[in-house]
Symmetry: C2
Subunit: 423 residues, 2 copies
């Protein structure tokens, strides 16, 4: 594998520091270097320094001219549902007309329509759709992508989902992390009574989880903990069993209503608690006192037309680690534009530029248990890099809605190919 | 000029109808055709119909294969400040930290820093910057672009601005409409007293306006009518003089505070009243009873972190004509992604998909006095077209933040070149 030498970046944003999430005031530092070159060897960052010092040792390296642009860690999108079939565009307008998420779900629309659609598709079909979508996500700067199952629900279809994610993981130029979200929703046919609901809980814990864990195709387990879906007690049972089965833990917590999900995530030592638009003060305090990353998904609230956003300032000022992610999914956040989430971080969540950059890199990596591998440009870390067509990192959230990524690399291999001569 | 024949669109969204704005319930109809071909001759739409009926008469035409995508009128962005120098990205974070627009302006930042920067740049420099930015705007689907002056303020620099817009108009593949916004702000050196302020009003009306009108380089006049900037009375005086000088009228109205700008726009018969986040019920009623287009700029409120948006539903339900635009400018809305405004229209303003499409095409055209020329795909109209990489028009606002335009044409000539083989 050829060495690489990145030169002529206007800024190299390193996010360098300890191999863990940045908490609270630590999020204000991103390590901006000017005049720095980055040498990559065997897919890892080898040296960062002034070009005249670095270049002599890398004469045989492929020289990549950044042409005055900003080089930074590839973006880490730590919360997506990127394997799905049909986009649910008709619901966007239904919501504008006043039908809310729970109402659409109760009618058998919403997630249930994605589940029916998912059941009807072959793994090959889903793989083809997902491969194209993942390439599009990469073209906006993402190099690490978490993907959850959860449109399968049944044993057979959850395994289908995770096998598709696994094939993506093997074939895609991106770094892909699989999460089993079998507890995304109760199947319609089992919502009828407490007995069938209990039966489903039994299947999740005693049948589906062991099968998923046994096949080694998921790194994390996640539960949609929300009134009307999984209760706090059910969530705890599923996650404790998942932990015993060797999976890391994540949690959809306090998205639409306050239910104590954040506190549960912290008490379980989950890698992340996600959404949090309705988190309580106690939940904020619990996360701040823990190593659980608070993963905020402001695009979802924007797209759903909610005026409320998660209390990012309270979380950071309280000392928590905050990550940002797209929540890319066909119902509530069909966006491929991760940098737009950084705009929302600044404009809507009142985060600083450094905070949103850490939230999309090192803290996203920590939310995936990858804080020692990706999310920063530092010696020994994977050469997961993104190049943006801007001269100052503050322009990344600023030019909102634009497609600014002109190239990216995962472990030194092209992810979204960079063609300096064309751009 | 070769004839063109567009075939194999999944949908042709025509927006066809009378050559005027769609008001109220009329906005719900956009005329979606399936299986339709569009023939273009001499830069104008000649025929729309089933391919087998249209094709025989256009055997010599260049055949454009839409490959199952959606063909629609090119987007009409009727409110931008696209000729500027330095981007003001540092203010984004300042606002996140609690400094508001008026506060930044009073410190000599905000628009005044754009004015100082504008004064320091040559016309050549501004033309080069603007040419690249306009091409980027085109790459998201815009084929008609209004551009305002207003960072010059002085006679010399306002003429410089409008001459740059005029050169863009002549050289750019887009349809460009120039608006004189000399009354964008009071120059700092003239804010000191009522006397110097009156002096500036005199200059605007007796010196700058006649020079602008005399050179024939502006179609519209616009005023930033807002407490602390131009009062209602000052705005009326400037616009009445502008009308006498032969210019069409526009108005920045009720953006941050309610001042009666909407009522003034309606009473003057302005082509549009723009912003309107703080419009009163009386203002809504006045617009609904008039032919003035209510131009809403939801990206600005999003970017500024305001929770309030203009009352689109009240305007449409009351019978007004609503347009959407980007407000592309370096301080409060640096977005090139017009389709993202359609997302905000549905998600934040509770408009239907048909309403946002009309708002971005035929009603944008009406806001520029071009309702008989562009904004619809109908025989005799200019062949201003945009092709989006979606199969259903509802996907345009749905895939929020994505760059979906794969080609556009203005009067039948490539605007954002389409390369079917590459896409």
């Amino acid at each position: 594998m050829t060495d690489l030498l990145f030169v002529n970046a206007s800024q190299v944003v390193t996010c360098a520091g300890p191999a863990r999430a940045r908490k609270g005031a630590e999020m204000r530092d991103i390590g901006i270097l000017t005049g720095a070159a980055v040498a990559v060897s065997e897919g890892r960052v080898a040296v960062i320094g002034a070009e005249r010092h670095v270049a002599p040792a890398y004469e045989g390296a492929t020289r990549i001219d950044c042409k005055g642009r900003v080089l930074m860690p590839g973006l880490v999108d730590s919360h997506t549902h990127a394997v799905f079939g049909r986009p649910r565009f008709e619901e966007h307008e239904l919501r504008a007309e006043g039908h809310d998420y729970m109402e659409i779900a109760k009618r058998g629309g919403g997630i249930h329509s994605s589940v029916r659609d998912f059941h009807s598709r072959s793994a090959e079909d889903l793989l083809a759709l997902s491969t194209a979508r993942v390439a599009t996500l990469a073209s906006y700067g993402t190099t690490t992508l978490e993907i959850k199952s959860g449109y399968g629900l049944s044993l057979e279809d959850e395994l289908k989902a995770l096998r598709v994610v696994d094939r993506l993981r093997q074939a895609s130029p991106l770094r892909i992390v699989a999460t089993w979200l079998g507890a995304h929703e109760i199947p319609l046919e089992r919502r009828a009574s407490e007995a069938t609901r209990a039966e489903h809980m039994g299947d999740l814990i005693s049948t589906i989880l062991p099968a998923v864990a046994g096949q080694g195709i998921a790194t994390f387990a996640d539960v949609f903990c929300e009134p009307g879906v999984f209760t706090i007690d059910e969530t705890r049972r599923i996650l404790e069993a998942s932990r015993r089965a060797g999976l890391g833990l994540k949690l959809h917590a306090d998205e639409l209503a306050t239910s104590g999900g954040a506190e549960l995530a912290a008490s379980l030592g989950a890698a992340s608690a996600d959404h949090l638009a309705a988190v309580s003060d106690a939940g904020v305090a619990a996360l701040a006192a823990s190593d659980t990353v608070a993963t905020l998904l402001p695009g979802t609230m924007l797209f759903l037309g909610k005026s409320r956003q998660a209390p990012a300032r309270a979380l950071i000022d309280g000392g928590a680690a905050v990550a940002l992610a797209t929540d890319y999914n066909p119902g509530t956040s069909p966006t491929v534009n991760f940098p737009l989430m950084l705009t929302l971080g600044v404009s809507q969540l009142r985060m600083t530029v450094a905070e949103v950059v850490n939230a999309a890199t090192v803290n996203g990596a920590a939310a995936l248990g990858l804080a020692g591998e990706t999310g920063q440009i530092a010696p020994g870390f994977a050469a997961d890099l993104a190049l943006f067509d801007i001269g100052d990192i503050r322009e990344l959230p600023y030019w909102y809605g634009a497609k600014l990524c002109v190239g990216s690399w995962r472990a030194g291999r092209p992810c979204h190919p960079y063609e300096p001569e064309l751009s």
